[in-house]
């Protein structure tokens, strides 16, 4: 076109615009899918040959200013484009036909994407539809029950604390058991899950089998969770504001409610029944005195104070045909249900992509975030076992009982301490003041928590830039640099009133950690179709460098709470620091092949070099291969009315791990070297510095390795009204990095070796049904189920080791080959000791003996170690969820039930709260028969409890305001909803604790130790989604 012609065209265009503008009007309508009549959100509506365009909202609605002659083009990924002439219509409903050729959803895989129908591995995709409406403080908390094979357990339960995530079971002893986290292609620490904004997440892709994860080699041993964040879309800038407020309430344990009233009633009944004489009101002096104090409180009410959770997220997204952007801002505040826990999180995100030239695309993403977590710095068991007669603070009433001889200065409003109530003259005129009711000299249990302050300030900056160059239609080079910088400042203050020993125990500990991770990925992608064959090949290099710096100081000798800073300390008792570096080079290649969309195959190889290992073993090779067959594309099925999809796939692959947690960061990062650390000794009053060896070097140490076989069937029936999949997997993790015990005569007690093997095997089911689907009402259901079995098949010199968590309360675990990694170990309860043989059956807990008859399993007439056996294990066997989604007119609703079965916990809460640890026998040693068969309950299965549960995990009921209203408000979408979590939560009959998911000690070899912990809580929340 020459210049003249262009000019003419422009003039014509100019005039036509000015003419058209005369009779513009607004056209509104809905875009739906022809196949199921469901609205299509995000469909593009463009006036052909203009820049005038919009896209449909969540409910498929659009409105656009047009004029009579305009031609509108409706398009959406996966549908055939449709052209409609306006021709005077002011409302227009368009039904798009599914594009068979584009039907395929695209799934993000490592270093690339793939059509879902071409997948040969086990990759689950979860699209964020309503996940951002679940009122939880972390994005991983919202994933519970969403994917088969993925178990997310709220082991800590405090606001903002990370859950324990396992994909297809625990595969490592000393290594990480959690999956790798990849955000928009960048491998990040799992801690990022606490800072990301769910509102900003587009989808999760979870690489479950080793063949899929093998492209990540050393990162992939425990699966990979890939997070794709939202991108801007072409069209006007769309703002969306999402908010909710939720109210959290703890689920209390009835078994852990103690009351003075009950105690007095039991005691009186017992004394009457036994004809005890010489008592007033049939009660002991102690009990009468405790009743007189007039306090009868459930400590659960004090420390489980409930809380609110609020979230605000605002985003602006938009762009033109070349540049797209997305920016968002989040604030979340979760008060937690415990007395002092609290979590605030702020984040900001900018994502920008631009087509710089026809062949070159660049983009950047930058996500600064900050979170502040205040922890409940105490242990709930320690507080819940306190006496109900003890008030938190002294009142005008309780102050009159204070033992003034010993506590002259106690005032109303001070923390009440048990010993304050000693030496009380119970009878009027009784000069022999002698009622001592304190059972502990500890400070008030509430003070222990309220006078401590444990904060985690986390500053994170995740940023990346990429460039993508298309050499031609087939070959693309992608290069990405990313930096993630994380700084954690932790402070732990113990105030003067927090400890019975007061000021001498006050301290401030400051810990600072900075992690800087730099990654450079470069890879080529080649994609070409040869007739019916489609080949996608990827090859590249990744360089990673992680630097960690840490320092810690503890200040002691505080004389007041006024200045909680190191400057106010009298001395520094601890200071240490370290700096470690860990580098990795990965080279990878993968070929995906599809013939006629029917026959599929993928092979990949990754070679990883790690700085953790010595020169002989630095490099590990992780190959994988998988095949698939889309049977429904075969002639004999292509016309079936019943079977709309049938696919068989199978994969086998290897992943590795070089991250382990054994003898501290130095050894764990430089295990092949013999290391010396600084030590000190006091010589005649001065500190002398020495150097001592800290490890036995193992230059042959190498990668942990997991090999996994995963066959599966995917199916769809009746035009995919019923669809689902069944996966079987068997993952063998060997060459485990064990800190193997060695004779202490060597000067060490362990040395790192590659020994040990764990096998995880199981089944996964997913079933999705579209029960009803029409214009006014739709109902769909999803069932997800996972079965897992964990077996320790080799444990080197540790096989059969018996471990305990606490030497004073030494209940035992065994790590025995042929069983799961950890099993509870001990004696089996035979029967209770008869009440009449107990010395004091009405101690506080009432009717709970410390001891119990156990079974003589080998029948040799005595109870010894030979009678101990495996009592259960802490790993769930079956985890499931059922979700139902409804839509009726403007109302939408979803319900998710979720459950876990087969796991047990060692509920030490019982042991503490029911006072089962007094060392002396609590039975009458002369009258009690068969005493040789009596053992303390702590060593038996008495406190091994079923940790199964069934919960109404999520409920979401929303109402979307109709067009009339929202157009008046000048917004494009307005929806309000009610959401609830754990509105129902059922536990097993014999479970007495607060939360079957809670686990105190997450060490893999003593897993399942519960000590009251944080309670299950339910959340009721109200939210608003607004787009404009």
């Amino acid at each position: 076109m020459n210049l003249k012609a262009k000019l003419v065209c422009m003039l014509v265009l100019f005039f036509s615009i000015s003419v058209m503008s005369q009779d513009e009007f607004v056209l509104e309508g809905v875009v739906t899918s022809q196949s199921d009549n469901q609205p299509i959100p995000g469909a593009n509506v463009v006036v052909v040959n203009t820049t005038n365009g919009t896209s449909t909202d969540f409910d498929g609605k659009f409105s656009i200013t047009v004029s009579n002659e305009d031609v509108l083009e409706f398009s959406s990924l996966g549908y055939v484009k449709q052209l409609v002439i306006v021709n005077g219509q002011t409302s227009l409903n368009v039904s798009l036909e599914v594009d068979a050729s584009q039907l395929d959803e695209v799934v993000v895989i490592g270093y690339g994407t793939q059509k879902k129908s071409h997948l040969t591995g086990s990759i689950s995709k979860v699209v964020n539809e309503k996940l951002d409406q679940i009122a939880v403080s972390r994005i991983d908390d919202a994933l519970v029950g969403q994917v088969s094979g993925v178990n997310i357990q709220a082991t800590e339960g405090e606001a903002g604390s990370a859950p324990t995530i396992t994909i297809r079971g625990f595969g490592s002893i000393n290594g990480a058991s959690g999956p790798a986290i990849v955000v928009d292609g960048v491998v990040v620490d799992s801690d990022y899950l606490g800072n990301l904004d769910m509102n900003d997440v587009q989808s999760f892709e979870i690489l479950k089998d080793a063949a899929s994860a093998a492209i990540y080699g050393a990162e992939g041993a425990n699966g990979v969770i890939m997070i794709t964040t939202k991108e801007g879309k072409e069209g006007e800038t769309r703002f969306s504001y999402n908010t909710y407020i939720g109210f959290k309430t703890a689920r209390q344990s009835d078994a852990y409610k103690f009351s003075m009233a009950d105690h007095a009633r039991n005691e009186a009944a017992w004394n009457i029944a036994n004809g005890t004489t010489g008592l007033i009101d049939n009660l002991s002096e102690d009990t009468r005195y405790k009743l007189l104090i007039g306090v009868d409180q459930d400590w659960q009410d004090i420390i489980f104070d409930g809380g609110t959770i609020t979230s605000h997220s605002i985003a602006a997204r938009g762009g033109n045909s070349k540049t797209k952007y997305s920016t968002s801002l989040k604030y979340l505040h979760d008060e937690g249900v415990l007395l002092t826990d609290d979590f605030k999180s702020y984040s900001l995100k900018l994502k920008l992509d631009t087509q710089a030239s026809k062949k070159f695309k660049v983009g950047l993403s930058i996500t600064p975030s900050y979170s502040l977590q205040k922890r409940f710095d105490g242990s709930t068991h320690d507080i819940l076992r306190q006496s109900p007669w003890l008030p938190l603070y002294h009142t005008d009433h309780t102050i009159q009982f204070v033992d003034r001889a010993n506590f002259p200065d106690v005032q109303v409003g001070d923390y009440a301490v048990q010993t304050h109530f000693n030496n009380y003259a119970l009878l009027p005129g009784d000069t022999n003041a002698d009622v001592d009711i304190s059972s502990t000299s500890n400070t008030n249990p509430g003070a222990k928590v309220l006078e401590r302050d444990r904060l985690y300030h986390k500053y994170k900056l995740l940023s990346s830039v990429y460039g993508k160059y298309d050499f031609n239609d087939n070959l693309t080079l992608t290069s990405r640099f990313s930096a993630s910088i994380q700084k954690t400042n932790q402070s732990r203050w113990q105030g003067l009133l927090a400890h019975k020993d007061a000021a001498s125990r006050a301290f401030l500990r400051l810990e600072n950690q900075t992690r800087t991770k730099l990654i450079n990925d470069n890879y080529l992608t080649y994609n070409k179709e040869f007739g019916k064959n489609e080949v996608t090949a990827t090859a590249g290099i990744t360089l990673q460098s992680l630097n960690t710096k840490f320092d810690r100081q503890t200040g002691i000798g505080y004389t007041s709470d006024a200045i909680q800073d190191l400057s106010a300390a009298t001395s520094i008792s601890t200071w240490d620091s370290y700096k470690v570096e860990r580098n990795k080079i990965g080279m990878f290649a993968r070929v995906n092949f599809a013939h006629d969309d029917k026959y599929l195959a993928t092979v990949s190889l990754r070679r990883d070099g790690s700085s953790v290992f010595g020169s002989k073993t630095k490099y590990g090779y992780f190959p994988a291969a998988s095949i698939g067959w889309n049977i429904h594309k075969e002639d004999f099925l292509s016309n079936s009315d019943v079977i709309s999809k049938l696919k068989f796939r199978a994969s086998y692959g290897f992943t590795g791990a070089d991250i382990f947690n054994t003898s501290g960061p130095l050894v764990d990062n430089y295990a092949y070297l013999a290391l010396l650390n600084q030590v000190t000794a006091t010589v005649d009053g001065t500190t002398a510095t020495g150097f001592a060896a800290i490890n036995i070097a193992n230059p042959d140490l190498q990668w942990e390795r997991s090999g996994e076989f995963n066959p599966a069937i995917e199916f769809g029936l009746f035009n995919n009204k019923i669809s689902g999949s069944i996966d079987y997997y068997k993952r063998t993790s060997d060459k485990l990095l064990l800190d193997n015990p060695i004779s202490s005569t060597t000067g060490f007690t362990s040395a790192l070796v590659n020994r040990g093997e764990v096998v995880n095997s199981g089944w996964e089911f997913e079933l999705r049904t579209k029960n009803v689907s029409n214009e006014n009402f739709s109902w769909s259901s999803t069932f997800i189920g996972s079965l897992n079995e964990n077996e320790l098949t080799s444990f080197a010199d540790s096989n059969g080791q018996i471990q305990s968590v606490d030497s004073k309360r030494a209940s035992e675990w065994i790590n025995l080959e042929g069983n799961p990694i950890s099993s509870f170990y001990g004696w089996v309860v035979d029967r209770d000791i008869p009440l009449e043989n107990l010395n004091d059956p009405f101690r506080l807990a009432g009717l709970e003996a410390q001891d119990v008859y156990v079974k003589d399993l080998n029948g040799d007439g005595l109870i010894d170690d030979e009678d101990k056996t495996i009592l259960g294990d802490p790993y769930p066997e079956f985890v499931w969820s059922v979700t139902n989604q409804f839509k009726l007119g403007n109302i939408d609703a979803s319900f998710m039930f979720q459950g876990s079965h087969g796991a047990e916990v060692r509920n030490m809460g019982d042991q503490y709260l029911f006072n089962q640890f007094n060392s002396g026998a609590d039975f009458n040693t002369t009258s009690t028969p068969d005493q040789q068969f009596i053992k303390a309950k702590i060593f038996t299965d008495d406190i091994i409890q079923d940790a199964s549960y069934v919960a109404l995990r999520n409920v979401n009921i929303g109402y979307t305001f109709s067009d009339d209203l929202i157009s008046k408000l000048n917004v494009s979408k307005l929806r309000i909803y009610f959401s609830g979590q754990n509105l129902m939560y059922l536990t097993a009959d014999n479970y007495t604790g607060l939360n079957p998911e809670s686990i105190n000690n997450t060490s893999p070899t003593t897993y399942g130790y519960q000590r009251a912990g944080s309670p299950v809580f339910s959340t009721v929340s109200f939210g608003l989604n607004l787009d404009f």
Partner: protein, 473 residues
């Protein structure tokens, strides 16, 4: 463009190929790699300090920590008639009831702690060739002094033990699990201490000195019945004039730079890395236990009868629970805990009291023991003179003839709660009779197998049957 990109890729690949190994082998900045260390005198000296760090032990709650000498009272004093737990709780109570199981964590802790001392000493001994001629002898002497000290404790507690005289690897299972006869262990101890006496020049109380080595060797010889050698060694210390008795126990235990202490393990108040927590444990639930190393009624009776002025400086009634008795020789940082005995200004669990291993009064009494030479009594004037110095300080008269029983009793009250009693009973051949009587008086039973600690089950399990256990009943 295409060419440029291929060039870039090619360059990247070259970079990875060429710089890869360097990129993948960063050296730690917060640690030292052994091959590059121990090459100068200063570094060897640092290796020697590390030995004392191991003796000092870790002030830690970890189940795998090595608490060194901090936990020694469990395996010595609490197995004697001197002390017990307050509440008979847990594995701590196994010592007083003579029911120590091979799984007891404290015996494993002591075993690994002192083999760690031996390992660190061996590390220094193996690097001696890098020392300058001027210092090599002194370094060797000091390392051997500490190694002998560790073996002397281990051999008396566990009997026949593995003899590790050089650093070994995990593969050297023969050495790790072969129990060598005590005579062989003593051969190494005597030879190490003789080297130490010849080479030690230091005068620090917290490090090995010539007098410390002489005193230790004197005790070794007394244990072996070599009375003449022991007498010569004690006299050498006495006549050196470098040591004298402190005025009283207050000075001895609370003024650490005193004339009486010959060898003690140094601690510093308030430093997690260099403090001890036994002082806190001995109080009423101030430490991690509810109270251990509480004084038995038997010890109270003997102290009251024979202690003289030492009584009020040795034990007290627990102010918080007046039916119990506490040791007051190592009150946390010298603080008495106020009216309830539990209130301290400085954190008691970070105490800085040095632990006295050898003091002049012990040498004086060993001198008497050496002269007595296994007979039932002595009236030797040199023996009487040494005995008198100890008795005088306690404000007690000195008899003209000292019987073996009087000497044993004197050692009990003078060195009460200093981890000497159990070894004294064994050395005097009285352990079986005295502890049997004591045990049955308390409803317990003591048998000859209780004279030795079990070998830790941890070691037995690892040895695949190579390592034999002491008799347990």
């Amino acid at each position: 463009m295409k060419k440029i990109n291929i060039l870039i890729l090619g360059f990247m690949t070259l970079f990875v190929m060429s710089c890869g190994d360097e990129f993948l082998s960063p050296l730690p900045e917060s640690s030292i790699v052994t091959d590059t260390y121990f090459s100068t005198d200063a570094e060897l000296e640092a290796g020697i300090i590390a030995i004392y760090d191991a003796i000092q032990g870790q002030n830690s709650t970890s189940t795998t920590a090595s608490r060194g000498v901090i936990n020694e009272y469990y395996v010595t004093e609490m197995r004697s008639d001197n002390t017990q737990t307050k509440s008979s709780e847990g594995e701590a109570a196994e010592f007083e009831s003579y029911t120590i199981t091979a799984n007891n964590g404290i015996i494993a802790d002591y075993y690994r702690s002192f083999y760690k001392v031996i390992f660190r000493a061996n590390t220094v001994l193996e690097s001696l060739d890098v020392a300058t001629d001027a210092n090599r002898t002194a370094y060797e002497a000091e390392a051997k002094f500490t190694r002998a000290y560790a073996y002397f404790n281990l051999v008396r507690l566990y009997g026949d033990i593995p003899l590790v005289s050089s650093t070994i690897s995990p593969a050297d299972t023969d050495i790790q699990y072969t129990r060598v006869a005590t005579t062989q262990v003593y051969d190494l101890i005597v030879s190490d201490l003789e080297t130490a006496i010849a080479g030690l020049t230091l005068t620090n109380r917290n490090r090995g000195s010539k007098a410390a080595a002489q005193g230790l060797l004197a005790k070794v010889h007394l244990t072996l019945g070599n009375y003449t050698q022991a007498q010569v060694l004690c006299e050498s210390i006495i006549s050196s004039g470098n040591f004298d008795l402190a005025a009283d126990f207050t000075e001895l235990f609370y003024t650490e730079a005193n004339a009486e202490t010959i060898f003690s393990i140094g601690y510093t108040t308030g430093l997690t890395a260099d403090s001890q927590f036994f002082s806190a444990e001995w109080m009423n639930a101030v430490g991690r236990t509810s109270g251990v190393n509480y004084v038995t009624q038997d010890a109270v009776d003997v102290l009251e009868a024979l202690g003289g002025s030492r009584v009020v400086e040795s034990y007290r009634i627990d102010p918080f629970q007046t039916q119990f008795f506490q040791v007051i020789k190592y009150l946390p940082n010298g603080e008495d805990g106020g009216a309830n005995g539990k209130t301290f200004v400085q954190d008691a669990a970070l105490s800085g009291n040095d632990w006295i291993v050898l003091r002049f009064a012990d040498v004086l009494l060993m001198h008497v023991e050496a002269i007595m030479g296994g007979s039932g009594s002595t009236s030797n004037s040199n023996a009487i003179a040494s005995f008198k110095r100890v008795r005088d300080r306690a404000g007690l008269p000195t008899p003209a003839v000292i019987t073996s029983q009087e000497l044993l009793d004197e050692r009990r009250v003078e060195l009460a709660f200093e981890n000497q009693r159990f070894f004294d009973l064994v050395r005097f051949g009285q352990a079986q009779s005295v502890l049997s009587t004591f045990a049955s008086a308390n409803g317990l039973s003591f048998s000859s197998s209780d004279l030795l600690l079990p070998i830790p089950q941890y070691e037995i399990n690892l040895s695949n049957g190579l390592l034999t256990q002491n008799p347990i009943n």
